[in-house]
């Protein structure tokens, strides 16, 4: 499903080069749930963005679903993401000014699907996450937990086979975190591959987590 081979990522900061990832090799099988553990700045988010094709490694190879995503041109990696990957961000990144339904539909707008199909897909996802009653509400007027559920619905709208979650509970209280974990569990049950970057201890003892990978200073330890 995911195969990283000697991946390095360097960022330039002035004259200095910061090595965010150092020779990372990792394999994740289909349907697996892997937690990526590490302190802030250990390279978790960088790794997720490389796997999603949002950034390119400095060297090394990244294959997702047998496609070399690290070398895809930008427009093709966007198409690939839209077809196969759902991304849950720490800060939700919902589009202000749009309502819940419009935010959920957003990733599929470039796909040119008929409007009724988009609405139907959004309705199914919103119902599953219990936000269908707030479909027409502006996302700015939702609570943190509701915003997180909108972000999950948006990540699931394209029925992805891979979910990448970056610190998904960072902005949630204990009750909402438990709800989120329940949703992730259901996704895992349906065969979706999960890669969760977090330093929240809640994730470390979960039954459905197959593996915990620890990152320290850009290296897997």
């Amino acid at each position: 499903m995911i195969c990283l081979h000697h991946v390095c990522k360097r960022f330039a900061q002035g004259d200095e080069a910061i090595e965010a990832l150092k020779d990372v090799s990792l394999e994740i099988a289909q349907g697996e749930c892997v937690v990526l553990r590490g302190a802030s700045g250990s390279g978790k988010s960088t790794l997720l963005s490389l796997i999603a094709g949002l950034a390119q490694p400095s060297s090394g190879e990244i294959r997702v679903l047998d496609r070399e995503i690290s070398k895809l041109p930008e427009h093709l990696s966007a198409l690939f993401r839209r077809a196969h990957i759902g991304f849950i961000f720490q800060k939700f990144h919902l589009i202000p000014g749009l309502n819940v339904e419009e935010n959920v539909i957003a990733p599929l707008i470039p796909a040119n699907l008929p409007l009724h199909v988009l609405h139907e897909k959004a309705r199914i996802k919103m119902e599953a996450l219990h936000i269908d009653s707030k479909a027409k509400r502006d996302v700015k007027r939702l609570s943190g937990g509701e915003q997180q559920r909108v972000a999950i619905a948006r990540a699931l709208i394209n029925d992805p086979v891979l979910i990448l979650a970056d610190e998904p509970t960072a902005n949630l209280d204990a009750k909402l975190s438990a709800e989120l974990i329940e949703h992730l569990y259901m996704l895992k049950q349906s065969g979706v591959t999960l890669l969760i970057a977090t330093h929240d201890p809640l994730f470390f003892d979960l039954d459905f987590v197959d593996r915990i990978v620890e990152l320290k200073n850009g290296r897997i330890v």
Partner: protein, 320 residues
């Protein structure tokens, strides 16, 4: 040399193309030399990002060169108002020794640059980027005609002399012309007309046979003979004047700028099959879209241009 706003615009764009084309040329050489598609080293990722930037630069240069050809002709047409003796772009083009060759060279370059655009498109839409090295090698080669064209264009505009009396198109496109064009008039125009329709039939047959090579050959022939037939046979029907054969007057307001439409149809039609065919030969595949577009544009062109003599005959009962 007279500096009209159109000439200034063209010369400024030439300078921009030379500058950015020069940068792209240097970077292309580096990419073509060091590109290894199967490696995942730091250098290859750097080349990958650079290749995207260079492709965008070249893409914009070549894409702009296509409408600028029409703008060049429009500029020449406009200059005819200030050059003594010139009645249309033809007089202006022929007022400089190499003017006609520059125009023909620009037409050839339309196909060459257009081919690069198709190749780039095929490369960028394949995740394996199969033509990256080839397209940069080709750009290194195509940079030469680009520079030659720009050099000739600068030379052309600097050689224009408004005080020199030039011949009008009626003289230039006639059997009495001193140029090699007069040779075309030694063959009966109906023969050119038949060759033109024959080439169109060949291009349709090539489409039916799904052969890229046949499409390339037949469409290049069609482009050539369509231009000759337009000058020798069809243009008198557009002007409704038996002795007027100018291919440039079609671009004037008196004829509703129909020339722009006719040339756009002809060049688009023959380009898609010729350049698309070459690309298919390189890729060893058959891209139906190119040939469909070609057939559509060619057919509309043939119907459009044929309507002129037909309507003339129906209205007057005679052929010119």
């Amino acid at each position: 040399m007279s500096l009209t706003p159109e000439i200034i615009a063209l010369l400024l764009l030439d300078a921009v193309f030379l500058l950015f084309g020069g940068i792209a040329f240097v970077l292309s050489a580096g990419i073509a030399w060091r590109w290894r598609s199967n490696e995942t080293t730091e250098l290859q990722y750097a080349l990958h990002r650079r290749s995207y930037l260079v492709s965008v630069i070249i893409n914009y240069i070549f894409m702009l060169k296509i409408p600028l050809f029409a703008f060049f002709i429009y500029t020449c047409d406009k200059l005819s108002a200030i050059i003594t003796g010139a009645m249309c772009a033809s007089g202006v083009v022929n007022s400089v020794d190499f003017g006609l060759y520059l125009t023909l060279f620009k037409i050839v370059n339309l196909y060459v640059f257009g081919f690069w655009l198709l190749l780039n498109d095929a490369d960028m839409n394949d995740e394996k980027l199969p033509f990256t090295r080839l397209k940069f090698i080709l750009f290194i080669l195509f940079f030469i005609p680009l520079c030659v064209e720009i050099g000739l264009e600068i030379g052309f505009f600097t050689s224009l002399n408004v005080s020199k009396i030039v011949s009008c198109c009626g003289t230039l496109f006639s059997a009495s012309s001193t140029s090699s064009i007069s040779l075309l008039f030694s063959v009966d125009e109906k023969i050119w007309m038949m060759i033109f329709y024959g080439c169109f039939a060949l291009s349709v047959a090539a489409y039916a046979s799904r052969s890229p090579l046949a499409s390339v050959v037949s469409n290049l022939l069609l482009a050539l003979f369509a231009l000759i037939a337009l000058i020798l046979f069809f243009s008198p029907y557009v002007y409704e004047l038996p002795t007027h054969h100018c291919p440039f007057c079609l671009l004037q307001k008196e004829y509703f700028y129909v020339g722009y439409l006719l040339y756009a149809l002809l060049f688009s039609g023959t380009f898609y099959a010729a350049a698309g065919g070459v690309l298919d030969l390189v890729q060893k595949r058959y891209t139906k879209r190119f040939y469909r577009l070609s057939l559509f544009f060619n057919t509309v062109y043939v119907i459009g241009i044929s309507l002129y003599p037909l309507s003339y005959y129906l209205r007057n009962g005679v052929w010119l």
